[in-house]
């Protein structure tokens, strides 16, 4: 009886397999078939609390790919996007990565969160697939020196340093609190900031809480008692918004400072927080100063009838670089494309971009400090 039941169970498994065998062969690594469309993966938080980031990622890449397809595709083949959702969770990132590997993509634009990009790019690297992340700033992403991993944005050590110098030299703060959300991105950034503050400003609170936390009163009352001049948060806007509202209800006057995860979310962050957002400091490059920015925004608005988020332009540039790489390599073959991307300089709305041997953008120490005034980010100066 028992055996029979096991047999039945195994049969079910077997049938499942027989059924899947019928689907067109999707095996193999990142080589890609010679005919058919060139497949490009896009992976990030398409849904969830960071869905705005996923939307930027998806729409930025889509814009680039549509432009290429309008010009006849790449290498005479059309470009197809394979979009996958990791919900900003690292456990999903590896699964998603495996799916993209199985789908036979040549390269991936993504992921968004460092905690997702790092494990996922291990999979891509293994399969010889190019990874270009538009937004993951954790240093480890490129410090592994994989030849096929690139990043179009800046690094947390640059960003953390900029923030720390601003706190000590411009704000002349004496006491600082540093919080993070315990993720690769948030903790990495907060650690870099705290490291650079060391010896110059007293860090009176250094604490992390889970990325799902929404009640910040226990930390904020501690913060209020500690009487700090400014508090730093390594994390994402979805937590920063309730944190700022709660801080204002508690009457905390010291401003919050944060990184790129909190910069540029007008509807999802600043509008939700209202007046309590004023005074908040962020570090982010001045993308608007680039000559191609206005043109990009115009194209984006025309296509999606919406305002691009902070990383839409980076996603657009990433997809563009990837396709230029395919074109220069003359084949949809991961390692060749990676070599071509290392060799070239690419014209993007962010200006010309070339990569160093780690895969970071060359000569980019460009983080600026912004402050929110009257519900808008205003440049507050580099130093």
């Amino acid at each position: 009886m028992r055996h029979l039941a096991i047999a039945a169970a195994s049969l079910a498994l077997g049938f499942g397999l027989a059924a899947c065998k019928a689907e067109p062969g999707k095996g193999g690594g990142g080589g890609g078939a010679a005919a058919g469309p060139v497949k490009i993966g896009v992976a990030g938080p398409i849904t969830g609390g960071q869905a705005k980031n996923g939307q930027d990622l998806k729409e930025g890449s889509l814009l680039a790919v549509e432009e290429w397809n309008a010009k006849g595709g790449v290498l005479g083949r059309t470009v197809e996007l394979v979009i996958r959702d990791d919900e900003a969770l690292d456990k999903n990132a590896t699964t998603v990565a495996q799916e993209l590997v199985n789908a036979g993509v040549v390269g991936v634009v993504g992921h968004f969160n460092s905690g997702c990009t790092i494990p996922a790019s291990e999979k891509y690297h293994e399969a010889g697939i190019v990874t270009i992340t538009p937004a993951s700033t954790n240093t480890y992403v490129t410090d592994r020196k994989y030849a096929d991993v690139f990043r179009v944005c800046g690094r947390d050590d640059q960003q953390g340093r900029t923030a720390a110098y601003y706190v000590s030299d411009v704000l002349r703060a004496k006491r600082v609190a540093v919080f993070d959300d315990k993720t690769s991105y948030g903790k990495g950034l907060a650690d870099e900031c705290a490291k650079n503050l060391e010896g110059r400003v007293e860090v009176v609170i250094r604490e992390g809480f889970d990325a799902t936390e929404r009640n910040f009163r226990p930390y904020l009352t501690k913060l209020k008692d500690a009487n700090v001049d400014v508090w730093y948060f390594g994390g994402i806007y979805e937590q920063a918004a309730p944190m700022l509202i709660q801080a204002s209800q508690l009457g905390i006057k010291a401003p919050m400072m944060s990184g790129d995860g909190v910069h540029g979310y007008q509807a999802d962050f600043i509008d939700k927080v209202g007046a309590a957002a004023n005074g908040t400091l962020t570090t982010f490059p001045d993308t608007t100063a680039n000559p191609g920015y206005a043109e990009f925004v115009a194209k984006y608005r025309a296509r999606f009838d919406a305002e691009p988020g902070p990383y839409a332009i980076y996603s657009y540039a990433s997809a563009h670089i990837l396709l230029e790489g395919v074109k220069a390599a003359g084949a949809a073959d991961g390692p060749k494309v990676a070599a071509a991307i290392h060799a070239g300089t690419f014209q993007t709305p962010l200006g010309p971009i070339a990569f160093d041997d780690r895969g970071d953008v060359k000569a980019l120490d460009y983080y600026k400090v912004w402050v929110i005034r009257d519900g808008k980010h205003v440049l507050s100066g580099p130093k």
Partner: protein, 308 residues
């Protein structure tokens, strides 16, 4: 220290309200209602949406914030009650005589279903309580904060505490003073006997679910006010904490759930104050384990004689 006691008390009284729903259902059906947190989430959404609509219409400005909150609360209670009622009819009633773990899985299924249902219907991004309006600030803003010695009391703290106390007292009176309450107690002692003496067991169970859900809706709105937002997955963690609280106090015992909830909130906030935030989610369980080692049925749980 005193400040963290207040924070813990406020958070704890929200836990207590949720835990009451768990403990009532458990008392009658011996079932862990895993989808209770999702009912809370549904209530939170209803309250935020109604309040946001009233804000847009200018009603909060003309009529005042508190009456509008009351309207939002009533709406949330109605919607959550409806969901609690349906939940029992769909997922629990057919399983009343099934093996004891089956309703648990059925409840887990409903919990996953409801989360995704709301995610699809209302989006995966959180919806915010419109806390940035002038009239909201005039009531819950920092200008109304009261400094009592070393403790800062915010109007929101007071609002939550008062509402929770009223609810607990009301529920206690309902269960102990009304006929329906008496029927509920009888059913929780022995379903068969209750049926024999003329109590409509099905009706009592439905009422229990509706009351639990209505309480969850209040907790949902308070949580949305406290954390400033509602999100499709907010019920999960709140539900987990409240479940722990109910067990801590002795599951099935109303006073136990209230006590457990408040103790749990205090443990968390005092823990953060002195031991740091790293193990915040663990403090509650450590307290639970310590209590269970001394009292295996929770603080107020009775030692039930085993039926042989």
């Amino acid at each position: 220290m005193l400040q963290s006691l207040l924070t813990g008390l406020v958070q704890g009284s929200i836990y207590a309200i949720i835990a009451l729903g768990y403990t009532m259902v458990y008392g009658i059906l011996v079932l862990i209602n895993f989808a209770h947190g999702e009912v809370l989430m549904v209530g939170a959404y209803a309250s935020v949406l109604v309040y946001a609509a009233l804000t847009f219409a200018g009603t909060t400005a003309s009529l005042g914030v508190l009456p509008c909150l009351a309207v939002a609360l009533l709406a949330a209670m109605g919607v959550a009650g409806l969901y609690g009622f349906s939940l029992e009819r769909i997922a629990y009633r057919p399983l009343r005589h099934a093996p004891s773990l089956s309703p648990l899985i059925s409840a887990i299924g409903m919990s996953i279903f409801l989360q995704n249902y709301v995610r699809l219907a209302q989006g995966s991004a959180p919806v915010y309580f419109p806390a940035h309006t002038a009239e909201y600030g005039a009531v819950f803003g920092e200008t109304n904060n009261i400094q009592v010695g070393p403790v800062l009391v915010t109007p929101l703290d007071l609002f939550i505490l008062v509402l929770c106390l009223l609810l607990m007292a009301g529920l206690y009176a309902f269960v102990h003073r009304t006929r329906l309450g008496k029927a509920m107690r009888a059913t929780s002692m022995d379903k068969t006997m209750a049926g024999l003496v003329g109590i409509s067991v099905d009706r009592v169970i439905s009422v229990t679910f509706v009351i639990g859900s209505v309480l969850a809706a209040v907790a949902g709105m308070l949580l949305a006010l406290y954390t400033t937002q509602a999100k499709f997955d907010m019920g999960f963690m709140a539900g987990m904490k409240a479940f722990t609280a109910a067990v801590l106090g002795g599951i099935g015992n109303l006073r136990g759930a209230m006590l457990g909830g408040i103790l749990l909130g205090l443990a968390e906030s005092v823990g953060i104050q002195f031991l740091g935030a790293d193990y915040k989610e663990v403090y509650a369980f450590v307290v639970l384990l310590l209590v269970l080692v001394v009292r295996p049925r929770g603080i107020l749980g009775e030692r039930v004689a085993e039926k042989v």
